[in-house]
């Protein structure tokens, strides 16, 4: 019945035997459904050890077949930072919510702002977060973020007191269905300060200064000389 044959892919005869492919597909399926978290490709391969030599290509074909098989179902195979997982298609979210209406609590604005600063500025110290927000960051918020495994300490800044440096985790990305930090919505641009001055009619600098607010000034004031843009993942982003 439902089984996709994989016949759409032209394989040189005998390269991969179809039975093996099918076995890998089912093994991967079992592992993905059993896992509570996304599964990394290497763990998927490990699960198929008994099925013979599994190379990347074979694994990908098996994943492709799974994706195909579930293409008209209520769930889908997706990839995020931590690897692959099955998830309920978003058009069924309301149905699922109706069946379990205990809504997760809303996140407070204080927590979200703190999280955003960590996500876009990482690695960052608590003092730096406070400098941006203009208020103290409560211990409870930092703890909740870590408890939730969205944020962790990746090191300590080599300044007096060696404050902890915070960064977001892989589960943070997984929970948002993202593969990489760059997939976060971009930060709004901040207009150049020269711009500020001339707009304010203060003529602190020459009138044409505002033109160079251009391409170079992407997102982000540059705080400690680090990149303010979302892109660079912290080096230690392992799991």
């Amino acid at each position: 019945m439902s089984e996709p044959t994989g016949s759409d892919v032209q394989m040189p005869a005998g390269t991969v035997d179809d039975e093996q492919l099918r076995a890998v597909e089912l093994a991967v399926e079992a592992v993905l459904f059993a896992a509570a978290e996304p599964v990394a490709p290497r763990d998927l391969k490990a699960a198929c050890e008994d099925l013979g030599e599994i190379d990347q290509a074979l694994l990908e074909r098996a994943l492709g077949r799974l994706q195909e098989h579930y293409s008209d179902r209520a769930i889908e195979l997706v990839r995020s930072a931590g690897g692959y997982r099955f998830r309920v298609r978003s058009r069924f979210s309301a149905t699922v919510q109706a069946a379990q209406p205990e809504r997760p609590a809303r996140l407070s604005r204080a927590l979200l702002e703190t999280l955003a600063i960590i996500a876009y500025r990482q690695p960052v110290t608590r003092a730096e977060i406070e400098a941006v927000r203009g208020v103290a960051v409560s211990t409870g918020i930092m703890r909740t973020l870590q408890e939730r495994e969205w944020v962790r300490v990746v090191g300590h800044k080599e300044v007096p007191g060696r404050p902890a440096l915070y960064a977001t985790t892989r589960s943070f990305l997984d929970d948002l269905g993202l593969q990489r930090l760059e997939e976060l919505p971009p930060l709004d641009q901040i207009r150049d300060l020269a711009d500020v001055a001339s707009d304010a009619g203060l003529s602190l600098s020459s009138p044409d200064a505002k033109e160079d607010a251009g391409p170079g000034t992407n997102q982000g004031l540059d705080f400690d000389g680090g990149d303010a843009d979302p892109e660079p993942a912290p080096p230690t982003h392992s799991l």
């Binding site: 309920v88 809504r103 203009g134 208020v135 003529s203 600098s205 004031l221």
Partner: protein
């Protein structure tokens, strides 16, 4: 969505504000309710109410003041904004609301900027950005707003367990070495950690007495049937002695209080019976497989 509609974890809740029966906020000064707020402060009462729970700090309040007038951050009329900001602070203080120190620091900063702007600037300083005392503040405001917006966007992303749901299946006992079990120590440590986090210990005493009631609650709930009534008396096992009966009785009371069981009596003086509220868990009920 109203960005100010959410509550803040950080702001102190002022002791002098209460929520009335209809959800309106009541202000009190020296114990007297304040019916009207001072007139010429540019503070609509609803804005004050917003202030009470929703600003994330002085930057947030300033942004609010600026945005409320459709002003660009880049061209803040510092004197006017300062006046308004001070107005809020004064009212807060008049109402003896506890203000986070940051608000006062900002008030001082605004006052300083204002006074510096009144002074004539030395000509050579004009080339320097720092010459405009507003610059640092504007920069800070822009940066804060940038992350404030980013926070809203991050919150709007579909999130696991809120908007999207993982698809999983259960797994029967796996072969191989048994998984680690919980040890009592681990369990206690974990609980201590939660309690710690929640600062729950305040006035809490749950004795083993109550724990036995909890256990009995689970057991009774499990033994009750949603469709058939069970004679209440059969739940009180005389064999357990007086204490056992008391525990069962308390358990039934707790279940009743929690709305988990319902009572029935076919006629006066007939046996009191009870059943689990709601339809069967499974169609045939009974033990989980």
């Amino acid at each position: 969505m109203d960005p100010y509609a959410d509550s803040s974890d950080d702001l102190e809740r002022p002791a002098t504000v209460e929520t009335g029966a209809h959800g309106e906020v009541l202000y009190r000064v020296h114990g007297e309710p304040v019916a009207e707020l001072p007139a010429d402060l540019y503070i609509p009462p609803d804005a004050l109410e917003v202030f009470l729970d929703s600003f994330e700090g002085p930057l947030d309040l300033l942004l609010y003041l600026i945005r409320r007038q459709n002003l660009d951050i880049l061209s803040i009329p510092i004197a006017e904004i300062t006046r308004q900001y001070m107005g809020y602070i004064e009212v807060m203080q008049a109402l003896r609301l506890e203000l986070a120190g940051e608000y006062l620091v900002m008030a001082a900063l605004l006052a300083e900027i204002k006074s510096r702007m009144l002074l004539p600037r030395p000509k050579e300083a004009e080339a320097d950005e720092d010459a405009d005392p507003r610059m640092a503040l504007i920069r800070q405001l822009q940066e804060y707003e940038q992350f404030k917006i980013a926070a809203e966007r991050v919150d709007a992303l579909p999130r696991m367990d809120r908007d999207v749901f993982a698809a999983g299946a259960s797994v029967e006992a796996l072969e191989g070495p048994p998984p680690p079990g919980p040890t009592l120590d681990e369990l206690m440590e974990a609980l201590a950690a939660v309690m710690h986090r929640a600062s729950l210990m305040a006035h809490h005493h749950v004795s083993t007495e109550q724990l036995s009631v909890r256990e009995r609650m689970s057991n009774i709930l499990d033994s009750l049937h949603p469709e058939r009534f069970t004679d209440f008396v059969t739940l009180l096992l005389v064999a357990e002695g007086r204490q056992g009966v008391v525990v069962s009785f308390l358990a039934v009371l707790e279940l009743t209080k929690a709305g988990l069981v319902e009572w029935g009596q076919s006629e006066p003086y007939s046996p009191i019976r009870l059943r689990r509220r709601g339809a069967p868990v499974g169609d045939e009920g009974g033990e989980p497989a």
